[in-house]
């Protein structure tokens, strides 16, 4: 690798890092705005125009608060916990392909650099490795606090993450079977035409993956590790100042990364309908190099639009659905999602034998029919008018 590619890659890595932090920062703002919208309130509107400076103000507040370490806590692990959380959260965006490639000429040599921090042929496994490490930040922090509530929160988080990781991985296997590669870029490039987006070929896998990523991010309806009615604050009960900030921040980064992951795996990444027409038109009018770069930029914008939609979806669900009970969570993970995703793998394999990509619609159809039948057969719930005893 020569120096030019290295420096361009360096710039791309820095930009991705900065963008990740910026999006995580404004996700906190967006979350409060979405919550306000759904609850018919105004939300933050004091700091700056439309409250846009609210995240900065929050960060300032976090930094200047007292950084408290409980006397009986094990000090180094207490510090290590949030560090691990934010580290693993930031690591995972490294392999996401944000766009096609940038073309440029330097010193008469033509370059073609991918808009992606690192391209490895085991990108999916890399993300899995990093995601499975994410739980250590929570566990170490929760244990080191020397507080029963923190410990319970940490243990809940760990068991939840382990349980849903299995279904997450199994639902992905179907995609890997169809693509035949573990590289995220080749998975994205497989979905060049609109109706070959994996969400159309793998509807069931998509739903399983989406739900499991909610659980992996500890988001509602799976936010039992920080269920305040049972556990006060969960694993970060004892944390204050920026250490708490890191925990909260890593949740938003995880949300961003899993949105990006979902868009890349199931929604075609940086592809959009009529992309070929647009890029050939641009290359025709602006020249091969500039046209290609503009087309790449449009692809990046499309990818971020998908990401933002999924971040919004995360928030939308959070403010719509109530929390599950813990046994419901475990049953859903182990008794529903794991068998379903194994079935998904089997049906996909059978479909691939006969070169039919849309085989899993069979399960989806059966499930929809079953759901409709069971709803129709369920006893109608009577809504009684409330009798007021005056």
């Amino acid at each position: 690798m020569d120096l030019t590619i290295l420096s361009v890659k360096g710039i791309i890595i820095l930009v991705i890092f900065g963008v990740t932090l910026l999006i995580a920062m404004y996700s906190t703002y967006a979350e409060r705005k979405v919550a306000a919208f759904l609850q018919d309130r105004l939300g933050p509107n004091r700091a700056g125009p439309w409250g846009l400076l609210q995240p900065v103000a929050d960060a300032g507040k976090m930094f200047f608060k007292e950084d408290f370490i409980p006397a009986q806590a094990s000090k180094w692990l207490f510090i290590l916990g949030p560090c691990l959380a934010i580290l693993t959260a930031l690591m995972s965006s490294a392999v996401i392909p944000f766009g096609d490639s940038i073309r440029f000429a330097w010193d008469g040599v033509k370059y073609d650099v991918n808009v992606q921090a690192i391209e490895i042929n085991i990108g999916v496994l890399y993300i899995f490795g990093v995601v499975s490490l994410g739980v250590y930040g929570i566990m170490v922090g929760g244990w080191a606090s020397n507080n029963k509530f923190s410990l319970l929160g940490a243990i809940r988080a760990a068991s939840q993450n382990i349980s849903y990781e299995i279904a997450l991985g199994l639902s992905l296997i179907a995609i890997l079977m169809m693509t035949g590669s573990l590289s995220l870029r080749s998975i994205v490039n497989e979905q060049a035409t609109f109706f070959e987006w994996n969400v159309f070929t793998q509807p069931l896998g998509f739903i399983i993956f989406l739900t499991c990523s909610f659980a992996e991010c500890n988001r509602t309806p799976f936010d039992l590790p920080e269920c305040e009615t049972e556990l006060i604050g969960g694993y970060h009960t004892e944390y204050s100042s920026m250490k708490l900030g890191f925990y909260l921040f890593s949740e938003y980064i995880n949300m961003f990364v899993s949105s990006a992951f979902i868009s890349a795996l199931y929604f075609g990444g940086f592809h959009y309908p009529f992309m070929d027409l647009v890029s050939s038109g641009l290359e025709g009018s602006l020249g091969a190099v500039a046209g290609h770069n503009v087309a790449t930029a449009i692809g990046v914008v499309a990818f971020f639009a998908k990401i933002f939609f999924f971040i919004f979806f995360f928030m939308w669900v959070r403010w719509t659905l109530p929390r599950f009970r813990y046994d419901q969570l475990m049953n859903l993970g182990w008794k529903t999602f794991i068998p379903l995703s194994i079935l998904n793998v089997v049906i996909t394999g059978a479909g691939l034998l006969y070169d039919f990509k849309y085989a899993t619609w069979l399960i989806a159809t059966v499930m929809i029919v079953l759901a409709v039948v069971s709803t129709a057969r369920a006893p109608k719930r009577q809504v009684r008018p409330q009798t007021t005893t005056a």
Binding site: S74, N121, I122, S132, L133, Y136, M139
Partner: protein, 184 residues
Amino acid sequence: MIETLNFFKTLSPTGWLFIVLTILTLFSAVSVVTAKNPIYSVLGLIFTFFCLSGHYILLNAQFLAAVNIIVYAGAIMVLFLFTIMFLNLRKEEEESKTNLTKIVSVVVGGLLMVMLIQIFRAKSAQVPVVNPGSFNSQTGMVENLGELLYGDYILPFELVSILFLIAMVGAVMLGKRETGDRHF
């Protein structure tokens, strides 16, 4: 002394990486055994797995490195940590070990070491020296590994998966709550 210095001068960046990784691995592995608190012990083991994954990457075995992290550091060690946290071993007191257990463990450990050294020294187990002519950097990649596993080694591979299935069924049977058992 000068020879050692010269040795370090001839090292390539990969060699430096190897030495640093090895030192880290050894230190963390020793800390697993010597740590008083079991939590630190487990964390040391996790770090050891990371260093081993680094070694795998140096050996150009990306897939093995990733799987090592996912399976060992990501799943098994979480369960270890989980169990130890539940045991609540906060009191940092040394368990009373009788002299007999100490002697037996030293003997067993020593025997294992002798056995391993013998295996590594055996003529039949000599690792062949790298031949630059036939060296293929793609050997450890997923595609090649998959072709090998599902081609030449299909029978052992399937047998291992049956073994795993049996172990899984056994674990589920052991963990199953029978009628009349206490609800926790």
